[in-house]
Symmetry: C2
Subunit: 349 residues, 2 copies
């Protein structure tokens, strides 16, 4: 069902019970497969090119099935570049090259494909990453895509990055006492796509936050090479990312609802649609988990970058309730935040 | 149209006129993009990790849309592993890691997905390559896939390999005087899939040739580090691969029809369906272009490998008719072999 691709609990079950057992390698102590170690799902796998541990690569992939193909502020093309640039960056790696695999439905207009390809090229140049290899397949028409435009389009990108020596960023490094930072306003991407898809109007135009975060990450690493965790809260939003981190590290995470940077348009859309901004997909935001000692330097570096100007603290890592995320309301009540079953909004990326 | 994904002239035009201009990078002298240099389409892009030229990576991607999902001798799962292992290997690289991106149509049975994932894992273990990162998206149903099984399935794999120092394998190195070798019987994959899809019976069961060729390539490089060209003749078959090599190198290639290793079942299917075996997709074969001095060593190494036992010479590289492939019939007449417009058989891989 659609929820199996939504990045929530159904997705996690598919990985844990179906892909990981099937993909296990024969290496002694192996099992490393989809998304890194079986007990820890990374945005990008980490590969050592030699036995010395030097020359570590990050390697990640994502397929993009967003509908409609074009939405306020972006399209499937720039999304497919930014999304994978960000996945690679969340290991602290400097992304260097992307592949692109197109699956087109017969009948897709070449002009549409051209606009998407131009957007991919422009996004890659903005990010300073090269699209180096590609493949195109055409399948007979059906749905799958954008019926109105006569032919659907799916894009898979994979990305390679080089992890700087000494950098060790992964969910399981979240440590009680650490501080949880989010890089900017949340929920914009999901609301932008949904409003375009459904023809809804929330007063002001909401544009996607889709953006490459490799520059922001590099600036943060410059001042804080010991960054503990980075995560881009895409499908499932900030809530899903925090749940996965809490589970991987065996720590509690507590955030304050009042500190979540939810723009007014997003709050209005959520109230109208019965959604929760903390579970909506973002495509140009990151969550960072940093030590209190690094916090000021990291926030200063983020505020100096165009993609981190509105970075703010939303919570802390605790040793209470290991594996559980809690949200504190403005009135002081705490509630447990669950990993959503699927995505509230299917085909959002 | 379907032909734009067929690996023939329509595919080449899409890359040349749409993707390459859109994906150009800003590097001085750049333009390198989809599939390597604009004037030379490689199966895998080659990346230098540092300025010294050491630590070269091969990086490749392919999407798999074959229908039906299961066919004699294989399924979309092992195909998606072997195909990308082979693309990476065709640069002489040792493949080390694969990503997998799944696009599922709602309604696909989990048991089917499980069988496909098991086949991928088994193929990866056979090839000695690890599936290290993955992604799953679910789209609403339609066609796109295998209607009978209720839900389609597309798989993208990307692969990374390490290119040994000193190895320089690319189409443009084909040199007049070189010898053209094919690693075994041709046309089996295409006929196997087609017969399953259409319910045709050609007397004996034809099984796909799908296989990983990284071991064969390593054995060939052991005895001939100066191998000039390797190519896996997938979509468009041996004919398309030879045309692309002739064009990239500005040489002529002449082969003898009588020397093509076409199994009896494939010949029978071709006669029945009006197809040409030289244009049918293979998934476990390679074409090698080698110097006469290396030929005996290369053939001996191939014959000692399970995937090269029936390797044979089919032609030579010439300086007549630059860019053109010619076939000589058993009666001595020569004809020009054109890059097919599209694939004779859509959705074959």
């Amino acid at each position: 069902m659609l929820g199996h691709g939504g990045g929530g609990r159904l997705s996690a079950e598919l990985v844990e019970h179906l892909f990981l057992p099937a993909f296990r390698s024969d290496d002694a102590g192996g099992g490393a497969a989809v998304g890194g170690e079986p007990e820890e799902l990374l945005d990008a796998a980490q590969l050592a090119l030699d036995d010395s541990g030097g020359g570590r690569l990050a390697f990640s992939t994502d397929s993009y099935v967003v509908r409609p193909l074009f939405f306020p502020g972006g399209c499937i093309g720039d999304l497919s570049v930014n999304g994978t640039v960000n996945d690679v960056s969340m290991s602290g790696a400097r992304p260097i090259a992307l592949s692109s695999g197109f699956i087109l439905e017969e009948g897709l207009e070449l002009a549409v494909l051209g606009r998407v390809a131009e957007a991919m090229g422009a996004a890659a140049r903005t990010a300073g990453v090269r699209l180096v290899t590609g493949d195109t397949k055409v399948v007979d028409g059906g749905s799958g895509g954008d019926r109105e435009r006569g032919g659907g389009l799916f894009i898979n990108t994979a990305g390679i990055g080089v992890i700087p020596d000494g950098v060790d960023i992964r969910p399981s490094r979240a440590t009680p006492g650490d501080v949880v930072v989010v890089s900017g306003p949340i929920g914009l991407h999901g609301v932008a796509v949904l409003s375009q898809r459904e023809g809804l109007d929330f007063g002001t135009a909401v544009e996607t936050d889709s953006a490459p975060l490799n520059g922001l990450v590099a600036a943060m690493l410059d001042v804080a090479p010991d960054l503990h965790v980075l995560r881009d809260p895409t499908r499932g939003g900030v809530a899903a990312s925090l749940c996965e981190i809490a589970e991987a590290a065996g720590v509690g995470i507590a955030y304050e609802e009042a500190k979540l940077p939810v723009p007014g348009e997003v709050a209005a859309a959520c109230a109208f649609l019965g959604l929760d901004a903390v579970s909506i997909a973002n495509e140009g935001r990151l969550i960072a988990i940093v030590t209190p000692a690094d916090l000021d330097d990291v926030l200063n570096a983020m505020h100096a970058d165009e993609h981190g100007r509105e970075a703010c603290v939303i919570g802390t890592v605790t040793d209470a309730h290991p594996g559980v995320v809690t949200a504190r309301s403005p009135l002081g009540a705490s509630r447990v935040v669950d990993l959503p079953l699927g995505e509230q909004l299917p085909r959002i990326c």
